[in-house]
């Protein structure tokens, strides 16, 4: 009860501090929102890629696209002789084209698709060696297999991770400075009050508390905004990614919402940490008892 009353009293001070912050509140919130948005976006992207990598990396399938004018039956027979091959499924180009026209309402052009073989293997270790062998078959135009895509994606993810860390660190530093300045201004405008409170025996943490709460509030608002933006972005981007990119890969559709909730939680924690950390540091520096 007692600590609740103290918290309520502190919160009142926080509101009065926010009022004094004026436009700089919005500056802080904008910058922090941008930082959290970029951080959250990158974080979630890496989570999606990670889950793609795991699910694709364990698929025992190779797709082989044949050169025009070769009998898929014949090629399939050759391939089924290779070791570790379980089944070879033939997708004639007519079937693939009909399906695509049905799914995506593409214009009635000449069928541009090749005959395709889906080769299922018995174990993961055989994927790479079989792929190498398939490449030497002259009737095959090119091959694709999830493991390879997964490898490339993984490299891409590592790049995003490093970029994410650098960008987030830079933006967090910028945010800390802006929060520091804002809180410093409020502290200056309350200098006399702070002196009075200190002289009348109000404890330093009670004096600093409202500033730290103020920072935490910045973090919460910014994290919420960033989460809304990430969410909105998903609504626009997901259908596009599914239609334009994933459908051309020989892969089952993969959800783009992976890790959305953990991302929001981490963004919130980071937002509150940066917000309250920045103001704690500033108030520690400028409020002396």
């Amino acid at each position: 009860m007692r600590s609740l009353r103290i918290l309520a009293a502190m919160f009142k001070e926080t509101i009065s501090g926010l009022k004094r912050g004026g436009w700089s509140n919005w500056l802080v919130i904008s910058i922090l929102t941008i930082a959290l948005f970029i951080f959250g976006g990158l974080l979630q992207t890496t989570m999606v890629i990670k889950s793609m990598v795991t699910s694709w990396g364990s698929q025992l399938e190779i797709s082989a696209y044949l050169k025009d004018g070769h009998d898929p039956q014949k090629v399939a027979r050759i391939i089924s002789q290779l070791p570790n091959v379980q089944i070879v499924e033939i997708v004639p180009k007519e079937v693939a084209w009909a399906e695509m026209q049905h799914n995506y309402k593409v214009a009635a052009l000449n069928n541009p698709l090749p005959n395709t073989l889906h080769i299922k293997l018995t174990n993961l270790a055989a994927v790479e060696t079989t792929a190498e062998k398939l490449k030497t078959i002259s009737t095959i135009e090119h091959i694709r297999y999830p493991l390879k895509v997964a490898r490339n994606l993984n490299r891409f993810r590592q790049f995003i991770e490093i970029a994410g860390i650098v960008v987030t660190a830079a933006l967090s530093a910028a945010t800390l400075i802006v929060i520091g300045n804002t809180v410093h201004l409020v502290i200056q405008s309350k200098q006399r009050e702070i002196e009075i409170l200190s002289l009348t025996g109000v404890s330093p943490w009670y004096i600093k508390g409202p500033f730290i709460l103020q920072g935490a509030l910045y973090g919460t608002v910014s994290a919420t905004l960033a989460a809304i933006f990430i969410w909105t972005l998903h609504l626009y981007i997901d259908p596009y990614v599914h239609d334009q990119l994933l459908s051309f890969l020989p892969l089952s559709n993969h959800s783009m919402d992976v890790g959305l909730l953990p991302t929001f939680i981490i963004v919130l924690i980071l937002g509150i940490a940066v917000g309250s950390g920045g103001s704690a540091w500033t108030s520690g520096r400028y409020i002396k008892i």
Binding site: E193, E195, L199, T200, G201, S203, P204
Partner: protein, 229 residues
């Protein structure tokens, strides 16, 4: 209640208090006088731990306050009532809220806050003005608010550094009489002042400082105006 032992305090090499020894007992009422620059405010600041001495010991209620950690300083100040020359009221808060501030910061429940603030305001005679802002009050009334704030926690010691410095003689007298009434309730009161008529009228203990040294200390005394030599 208040004890200074061989206290020496300097500001960047310039001594402000030199070998001060002093004892003020429980419930005592004393004036601290002396010309400008004598070290009155410095002594007060040592007592509420705004400063620490370079040498010597300051104890309040048996506690050596020169050894307090920063976390303990607020605890000390809550046990002291401090009254300032410039009142130090929060300008945007009502009389009531000014007096209530520390209690609320300590999480005292609003019913107790109301009871204690009302009783402090009653003692200083400001029940009617509790909703006013400080700027709408006279200097004397503002100082009463400062005194109400100082006593709201029921401190054993009340320190007032030139509490009448910004007030006219009539009001000054009333303020000092108010402080004297408070001391009669058992509070140790130390007032620094160079207001000769008031000191002389009160006939209380007078401790005189000059150039950082205690030059006289008499019970029921008067202000010594450069009489020696």
């Amino acid at each position: 209640m208040i004890r200074l032992q061989n206290v020496y305090k300097e500001y960047t090499g310039k001594p402000a208090l030199i070998d001060v020894n002093l004892h003020i007992g429980l419930g005592e009422f004393a004036f601290l006088t002396g010309p400008s620059g004598a070290g009155k405010s410095t002594l007060m600041r040592l007592l509420y731990r705004e400063e620490t001495p370079n040498k010597g010991i300051v104890t309040i209620g048996g506690v050596n306050i020169t050894r307090l950690s920063p976390r303990q300083v607020p605890l000390l100040r809550r046990r002291l009532g401090i009254v300032f020359q410039d009142f130090k009221l929060l300008p945007k808060q009502s009389v009531f809220d000014n007096v209530a501030y520390v209690l609320r910061a300590l999480g005292v429940d609003e019913k107790d806050v109301k009871r204690r603030v009302s009783s402090a305001l009653a003692i200083v005679g400001l029940e009617e003005e509790q909703l006013e802002l400080p700027e709408n009050l006279s200097g004397g009334e503002q100082q009463r608010v400062g005194i109400a704030r100082a006593i709201v926690n029921g401190p054993p010691v009340l320190l007032a550094d030139e509490p009448t410095g910004n007030l006219d003689p009539q009001t000054s007298m009333e303020i000092v009489q108010l402080l004297e009434r408070i001391s009669q309730r058992g509070t140790t009161v130390l007032i620094s002042t160079h207001d000769v008529p008031i000191v002389n009228a009160m006939r209380k203990r007078v401790i005189s400082l000059k150039q950082g040294q205690v030059v006289s200390d008499v019970d029921s005394g008067v202000y010594e105006i450069e009489t020696t030599r």
